[in-house]
């Protein structure tokens, strides 16, 4: 065996081990008790794979590799230390970085290989840069919206879907042409450019409430583009990692779409906000019952079972630590407190769980929608904090509602419902919530953090 072949075999074996570690890593994520093993497996796999790659016979110069690795690590550390409330935009940004890497490598590979690119190679290479390009700009847009640098409201215009469809066809059409005529390399920048623009246009009509689905979908695209890169480089580790990431993102997007009772195409081409322009205007003054922190505290103290329903508003108000104090003081009084988590509460899958876990609320108190919905009729108080559409009973009853059919948390079945809200303005989707006008609903008007803090003081807890 030549030295060349020996090093190749060594690299392949290392990649094989890394692939197994990656799969184990995801398997261990299935439960919070083993999840941290998953990280170690992933890290070991990653270090092995990078170290193995450095053995590659073709590498003649290490200087720039080392500089880039150090620089990337330097950027990675602050990105890993962001606040938990900023995790959705950080995640979107990292999808963008992943896609950037794939797109750049694909572009470089094209110019190194052209015009001798076999048809299949050219097809996967096009797929790599199309998916990579649209994921890069799409994720940047998503991150900008989540960070509120860009407007969160959907931006829509007439003929939007047609424009998007045309752009997509241009990208795919150019790719097909390039596959058939590999010498026409002027088409390549067109493919990349159109994909970049397509990514921007794909995400601008999407509003904040749809972010969980979009982030999951971009996650899937990022994975698929990496898998395509694996085909181009004939690197099986990359194919495996990309396929795992792609299927993970796809599963999450399906879960998110289901939780919003919407199809994929609807999320991508529907732009939620435009569905119901009438609802935002109809703010006639129906009577609501409101309560003070003292009254709310008295009702909570008298309850046996309390379910807290957190939503994105809790994250915005940074109220999760006050909520934890409320959990503590009520638990001490012998009240059973649980949290009802809607799959799309927040801005990315699982967002609420992370925020509540950060506030030290034990994860066995965080209950999924399907599990807790049957318990609401036996619940004394349902306390809604910064959630709106996911509690809207119109989703069950009102066929004309844009959210009709969306699975919701049945808070209206609790004996008493308390809703902490700044004012009576409708939620993100601009849909009025009949829950607020029920007889057994008490509106607690104010900032979530301050209001919960006031209840906690009333109950004699807090620091």
């Amino acid at each position: 065996m030549t030295e060349f072949a020996a090093s190749q075999t060594a690299i392949e074996v290392i990649y094989l081990i890394a692939s197994a570690l990656f799969i184990l890593s995801l398997k261990w994520m299935s439960s919070p008790t083993t999840a941290r093993h998953g990280i170690w497996a992933g890290e070991i796999g990653m270090v092995l794979a990078i170290a193995g790659t450095l053995l590659h016979h073709g590498i003649v110069d290490y200087k720039w590799i080392v500089i880039a690795l150090v620089l990337g690590s330097g950027i990675g550390v602050p990105l890993g230390m962001v606040q938990m409330t900023a995790v959705p935009q950080r995640t979107a940004l990292s999808h963008a970085f992943g896609a950037l890497c794939v797109t750049l490598v694909g572009t470089a590979e094209f110019y190194l290989r052209t015009p001798n690119v076999p048809k299949f190679m050219m097809s996967v290479l096009s797929m790599e840069v199309i998916l990579g390009g649209l994921t890069f700009t799409g994720s940047l847009m998503a991150a900008g919206k989540l960070q509120e640098i860009l407007p969160q409201r959907p931006i829509t215009y007439k003929g939007q879907n047609l424009v998007n469809l045309l752009l997509f066809l241009v990208a795919v059409g150019s790719a097909v042409y390039l596959v058939l005529h590999p010498e026409a390399k002027q088409f390549f920048p067109l493919i990349v450019g159109v994909s970049l623009i397509f990514g921007v246009l794909l995400v601008i009509p999407i509003g904040g409430a749809d972010m969980p689905t979009v982030i999951s979908l971009l996650n899937s695209y990022a994975g698929l583009s990496a898998a395509a890169m694996g085909f181009v480089l004939n690197n099986k580790l990359l194919i495996i990692a990309g396929a795992l990431d792609g299927s993970s993102g796809l599963i999450l997007s399906v879960i998110m779409s289901k939780a919003m009772n919407r199809s994929f195409t609807n999320v991508l081409f529907g732009a939620f906000g435009q569905v119901q322009p009438a609802a935002a205007g109809g703010a006639e003054a129906k009577p609501v019952r409101s309560a003070t922190p003292e009254e709310a505290a008295a009702i909570l103290a008298a309850a046996n079972k309390v379910v807290i329903v957190p939503g994105y508003g809790m994250a915005v108000a940074q109220a999760q630590h006050k909520v934890r104090e409320l959990y503590d003081v009520l638990t001490k009084k012998g009240v059973e407190v649980r949290f009802a988590i809607h799959p799309v509460a927040g801005r990315m899958p699982g967002h609420m769980n992370v925020l509540l876990a950060e506030a030290d609320i034990p994860y066995d108190r965080l209950i999924e929608m399907d599990e807790i919905n049957g318990d609401f009729p036996q619940t004394d108080v349902a306390l809604v904090i910064g959630a709106n559409d996911v509690t809207n009973p119109a989703a069950r009853t009102d066929q004309s509602s844009p959210i009709f059919g969306m699975p919701i948390l049945d808070v209206d079945k609790a004996h008493t419902v308390m809703v902490i809200k700044r004012g009576m303005s409708p939620g993100f989707a601009g849909i009025d919530n009949p829950l607020y006008y029920f007889d057994r609903t008490l509106m607690l008007f104010g900032d979530a953090k301050q209001f919960v803090g006031a209840i906690v003081r009333e109950l004699g807890g807090g620091h």
């Binding site: 990653m46 950080r90 990292s94």
Partner: protein, 98 residues
């Protein structure tokens, strides 16, 4: 070439099925850390960029490769770091047994 391609498609198909089966069992509780972990793993694309930079075939390729390494490495480091920070926060109120 032909057999390589078929091999690669087999690998992709099997990995996708494994992905679906494994990830279906991930608790919704951990969907956020799952996404940041898959993101870090996905940054394995860095190996392609490393070879690209190391081979020094053209200045253009090297420049793109360096940016690619920086982007992917920041995902590796940032992704594992934040996933670990998140998972450390998940605590149960019950002593180990269910």
């Amino acid at each position: 070439m032909g057999s390589n391609l078929i091999d690669a498609l087999f690998v992709f198909m099997l990995a996708a099925f494994i992905g679906f089966e494994v990830i279906r069992h991930v608790s919704p509780l951990l969907h956020t850390p799952l996404m940041s972990l898959t993101n870090a793993l996905d940054a394995i694309a860095v190996v392609g960029a490393i070879v690209l930079v190391g081979e020094k075939k053209s200045t253009f390729a090297t420049v793109l490769g360096v940016i690619a390494i920086v982007a992917a490495t920041s995902n590796v480091v940032g992704g594992f770091l934040i996933t670990d920070r998140m998972l450390k926060m998940f605590k149960t109120s019950r002593p180990v047994k269910k």
